[in-house]
Symmetry: C2
Subunit: 340 residues, 2 copies
DNA sequence: TTGTATGCGTTATCAA
DNA sequence: TTGATAACGCATACAA
């Protein structure tokens, strides 16, 4: 059973040298002889010395932590896999440099802002990720006024207010989805979208309007809070229309699955009478009966890249905003041409 | 735009008092007059002072962080909602005391141990959670040798080696499940379990053997890695037996859903010819067609309680291990009596 | 009630 | 090449 806290002076004493010699030796810096260095390293290893993180942070002004605030309703968190996949990607890349992800949760944007302000003032993290960016998001304003805090946004570059962003190409994705429906022969399509105030919903909305107009398709859109119940409600409303859409795109997998259930309840056959497509792919889509055609993104890889970008910003390297364009449509059983 | 780093001496200078007076005032401690206190608070507020976390941690030997290592295959992480729900519960309770959750990821038990050793040696966190405890888990040994590091295990008390544990009552749950199948008239049941080396799998295994023997049921069990493909493979094997089981219990929701798909492929009707029950409830179970009968636990609440326990241990309060007994069976469409 | 001085464990500067 | 020593920012024991 080793001593709990081994300090640099313990090592110095044991090796019979001064604490600064130890510091040089351990940090691989010049200013110490080979013999001393070897001895110090040996002793430090035997004693199990590791630098105290608080002391190092105080001295360095660097914590080897980056922050992420989860601002979500618990119910959505537990149902969507997106956040967990993102965290998996973030932590796996951070791990390569021994960085930790510091997670806080909040239930409103105001309290998220409070956490961010705390981090800026206390220096508890070396950088932050911002997700779920909204139109005119006050967090962007906050971080723009504190350029010393490295930040990477997970949102479209048109929303990032000049801050470094990792975007994904929602416009191409929208076009891909609309074109696919068009090719299948659908002439009236609908979309059950996320909240109107979310940045990426806004981007998707515009892209959909643009592309459907171009192709002369009838298009309508309903906004939701992403919940299964909202997905069902909107589906019901759309399918009750006299001139109902023959294809519906859902902004997340959860609502698409819920819609499948609703269609079954209403005795509307999928895909013969209705095509269902999900903007997010997941196990849910693969397992649904019938399985759901979905736009698949590499969320874990996205997390990795975001982490890489933030580490680079922290390291002072020049980092450009980047737009992912890796989404692809996974064809499954929920979509097809309309039966004549 | 405020000054990035406001220190206690900035406040002292601006208020025209000494730094110790500021410290006393800000920490609500005696030893300073009301007038001075008010002035200090006012100035501190105006300057936006917050204590530097590294300095505070160094001085206090307390970081206001607790650690969690995610040791998972990425694929499983993205599919199961358990971890995300747990994190939601943990962070929400930690938030009440301004604590943060520090998340690291690892892909093997060895590297998780390395992270834990790092935390013990560097003092980067005030306490840790241990999940997915295995039989003879070396992490328990490690933490037993470092009693200064507060820890809460999420596992059965028989596995926790005397450390503080938040258990859930797997035995009662097993009995509940077996009794339910028995009451429905099933006489041959099977279980598709998690990995054999996992502590809670072991507990479940024993409880199942015990209870099925008691009721004179035929019982067989296959172990898996929790993945959908393993769930399918095992289901296929079980259903191909000459004397196949009429009810199968799955150790997680993902495999239960996968099994539903497999049963459909094999033209075996659920629940007429086969009852499917999941040990974990989730949105997946509710949305499956037919929906899946499942044992439901309050994972978020469990996370909250675990966090509360760890905070108490850190605060030096006496904390007893605790066993949750809140699981309940949610009856859905995947289970019933065998059609005659 | 107040200000001065010291410790926390590192890193970095500066004489020796 | 070395070993004191200051600095990081806060808390606190102690002296004024």
């Amino acid at each position: 059973m080793q001593k709990a806290k081994v300090t640099i002076s313990d090592v110095a004493r044991a090796a019979g040298v001064s604490s600064s010699a130890v510091s040089y030796a351990l940090n691989n810096k010049p200013g110490v002889s080979e013999a001393t260095r070897d001895k110090v390293l040996q002793v430090a290893d035997k004693l199990g010395w590791k630098p105290n993180s608080a002391a190092k942070a105080l001295s360095d002004a660097s914590t080897r932590c980056v922050g992420l605030v989860l601002t979500y309703a618990t119910e959505v968190l537990s149902v969507e896999s997106y956040t967990m996949e993102l965290i998996a990607g973030l932590t796996s890349e951070l791990e390569t440099e021994g960085y930790s992800l510091v997670v806080r949760s909040s239930r409103s944007q105001e309290s998220e802002i409070a956490v961010l302000k705390e981090w800026i003032a206390t220096g508890a993290v070396d950088g932050v990720f911002l997700m779920n960016v909204e139109l005119g998001d006050p967090r962007i304003d906050l971080l723009s006024h504190h350029p010393q805090m490295p930040v990477v946004l997970l949102c479209d570059t048109t929303l990032s207010g000049g801050l470094t962003a990792l975007a994904d190409d929602q416009r191409s994705a929208a076009h891909l989805l609309v074109d696919y429906c068009h090719e299948l022969g659908h002439r009236s399509i609908a979309r059950v979208a996320g909240p109107e105030y979310m940045g990426h919903t806004f981007i998707r909305d515009n892209a959909f309007v643009e592309e459907t107009a171009e192709l002369g398709l009838q298009y309508s859109c309903l906004h939701t809070d992403y919940s299964p119940s909202a997905g069902m409600r909107c589906t019901k409303r759309l399918l009750s229309l006299a001139n109902r859409p023959t294809a519906i795109v859902y902004d997340n997998d959860v609502m698409a699955v819920a819609a499948m259930k609703m269609a079954a309840d209403m005795d509307i056959r999928v895909p013969d009478e209705l095509s269902i497509v999900s903007w997010d792919d997941s196990f849910l889509c693969a397992m649904s009966v019938p399985s759901i055609t979905a736009l698949s993104r590499d969320v874990v890889g996205r997390g990795r890249r975001a982490a890489r970008m933030l580490l680079d910003v922290i390291a002072g390297k020049p980092v450009e905003s980047y737009t992912d364009a890796d989404s692809e449509l996974v064809f499954r059983d929920s979509s097809g041409s309309i039966a004549a």
